[in-house]
């Protein structure tokens, strides 16, 4: 018995140390990115200044000249916000109908929606370029990016909303029906207030996915509607001399989302596992 107690005591001490160590290792690349962003481009590649250097803000103050950051950031905000909004406008009524008036096809429809997520985007890239460039003339517009981001995320949005709505007792909605409330009234006055938390976390998660999307946003734009993903991808070449400024613009690109993510990590689980993990 003595050994057991001893090892438990040792474990109690070591456990947090190991946990903290693992967490710091995982966070280290992000820390390093932010850390490097305060070095000049020369210092950033000089091993002599690996840890000790004179911090500077020049990479941030010059960001507008170096990268045209604000243009891309504005595009990211516009497209992500509107794509999220449209996805909710289309998704809330659909999820409402599926959760409260399911038919025998509802399960199949939901599964089919999820399966559209598995369609490899690359398989339809050329047709999409052809359609939007040669036929519709909407290539490289905010409108196109918004529509595509909305469609790409719609299955996840509907799934998430569906799982949240399912938790609401049907009787509450039924009671509204008895009182002669219209369907729109039901959604607006009963469903949305009750499911507000679920809708908000769906919106947050969709916003994060839109912001980080790097396939369609890069390939269906050239300049006007390009988002931050395009800006960063444009710097893929080994630009050793520009580590400082590259770190600064990368930090600026991920900071809003990483911070937003910290606040919604709890909702993330329910959202991403469609409520199957509790």
């Amino acid at each position: 018995m003595a050994t057991v107690t001893q090892s438990t005591k040792f474990g109690n001490f070591m456990w947090p140390v190991v946990a903290w160590g693992v967490a710091l290792i995982f966070f280290f690349p992000i820390f390093w990115l932010v850390f490097t962003s305060f070095k000049t481009d020369q210092d950033a590649v000089n091993p002599e200044f690996l840890w000790r250097f004179t911090p500077t803000l020049e990479n941030y103050t010059n960001m507008t000249d170096n990268y045209d950051y604000w243009k891309f950031a504005t595009n990211s905000v516009i497209t992500s916000v509107f794509a999220t909004l449209f996805a909710l406008v289309v998704g809330v009524p659909a999820a409402y109908a599926m959760a409260f008036n399911p038919s025998r096809h509802t399960k199949d429809i939901l599964m089919w929606m999820l399966s559209t997520k598995m369609l490899p985007a690359a398989a339809v890239l050329y047709p999409m370029t052809f359609l939007t460039k040669n036929m519709l003339g909407i290539y490289d517009t905010h409108f196109l990016v918004i529509v595509v981001l909305c469609l790409v995320n719609l299955p996840i949005v509907i799934w998430m909303l569906f799982t949240y709505f399912k938790e609401i007792p049907k009787e509450i909605i039924e009671a509204g029906k008895m009182d002669g409330v219209s369907t729109w009234g039901e959604i607006k006055d009963i469903l949305i207030p009750l499911a507000w938390g679920g809708i908000a976390s769906t919106a947050l998660l969709t916003f994060i996915f839109c912001w980080n999307e790097a396939y369609w946003t890069v390939r269906l734009t050239t300049f006007n509607a390009s988002t931050l993903s395009t800006l960063i991808e444009g710097n893929r070449a080994p630009e050793g001399l520009f580590f400082g400024r590259l770190s600064a613009v990368s930090t600026a690109a991920i900071a809003p989302i990483v911070i937003l993510g910290w606040f919604c990590q709890k909702q993330l689980v329910a959202g991403l596992t469609f409520g199957a993990v509790k």
Binding site: A23, F26, A94, P120, F130, R236, F243, L246
Partner: protein, 312 residues
């Protein structure tokens, strides 16, 4: 209006939008895959406009199957997705168990651990391939250089120096070569998605039946046997879900491959399609159809495995 009609109307926009989104481009891909269609050709300018008169039947499919890159791209897709799945599930389980108890600063540990998941893929790839893995300027190069200097210094040490003389000088690894760049992609994506697995496993661990475990402890079960016989079965569903969701995202992995592997011969299926699409749209479309078939096989398998439990 009947009781049934309104719900149908409400879900119609979503269903229609997704149907159009899926069917229109896909049927175009199917059409292009059966015709000769290139973007530039000075010898056969008639092939530069899609037309039924350039019908090629299954010719594009035969061409793609014979292309030496096709098999390589499929193998690489499987290697990359498979490795990422194994690494994230194993590491995710270990870390979830590790932090599934109270200790000082647990909230901060959680925040630090989940952060990589929110980093945009483009930044992830640029950060890893340049600032961390670069053999000269990145941390890898600096660390290897430092290690070599250290060993060099120790060689002059009396007595022990003989031992260090036997050590070879370390060579930094270039992660921009064909095969190593696949490892770089696996590394960076696993870094990003392990937190996701941790988060889900941890949530699930919190709902584990503690009394069962206590009973097992009284019966003299070891920690390991408790983990294998009680915890792992409890986590079966979350593991299946983590595998399904990651497969959805990683089968279409592109930005990381594009940034890390551009021009060095490494590719997965989506990247091969992109390469063909630079000129030979017919071949790109046929490859696309192969990718869709592959994705469907995996989708059916995964949805069978997980789908039922999602609907409970």
């Amino acid at each position: 209006m009947s009781k049934r009609t309104l719900p149908r109307i409400l879900q119609t926009p979503a269903v229609l939008l997704l149907l159009v989104w899926m069917l229109v481009p896909l049927s175009m891909t199917l059409y292009f895959s059966f015709i000769r269609y290139v973007l530039n050709s000075s010898i056969r300018p008639e092939w530069t406009t899609p037309s039924l008169s350039n019908w090629r039947g299954f010719g594009n499919y035969g061409y793609v199957l014979k292309a030496k890159d096709f098999l390589f791209a499929i193998q690489n897709s499987v290697l990359i997705v498979g490795s990422i799945l194994i690494i994230t599930v194993v590491l995710g389980l270990a870390i979830a168990v590790l932090i599934n108890r109270k200790f000082p600063g647990r909230g901060i540990v959680r925040v630090l651990l989940i952060s990589p998941f929110f980093v945009m893929p483009a930044v992830n790839a640029v950060l890893w391939i340049n600032m961390i893995l670069d053999p000269v300027l990145g941390l890898q190069g600096i660390a290897v250089g430092g290690l070599n200097n250290l060993i060099d210094g120790l060689r002059d040490f009396p007595v022990l120096g003989v031992f260090f003389n036997l050590w070879p000088t370390f060579e930094p690894i270039s992660f921009r070569a064909t095969q190593t760049s696949a490892y770089a992609v696996i590394m960076m994506v696993a870094w990003q998605w392990t937190p996701f697995a941790v988060l889900i496993f941890m949530t699930s661990l919190q709902s584990e039946d503690e009394s069962q475990k206590e009973a097992a402890t009284l019966d003299g079960a070891s920690s390991w046997s408790k983990f294998i016989n009680l915890t792992v079965p409890h986590l079966a569903r979350p593991i299946a879900i983590v595998i399904m969701i990651q497969s959805i995202f990683h089968l279409s992995l592109y930005a990381e491959i594009e940034i890390v592997s551009r021009g060095n011969g490494n590719k997965n299926l989506p990247y091969l399609i992109g390469e063909f699409a630079n000129n030979n749209i017919g071949a790109a479309s046929a490859t696309g159809i192969f990718a869709v078939i592959l994705a469907n096989i995996i989708a059916i398998f995964l949805l069978r495995m997980v789908g039922k439990s999602l609907m409970d």
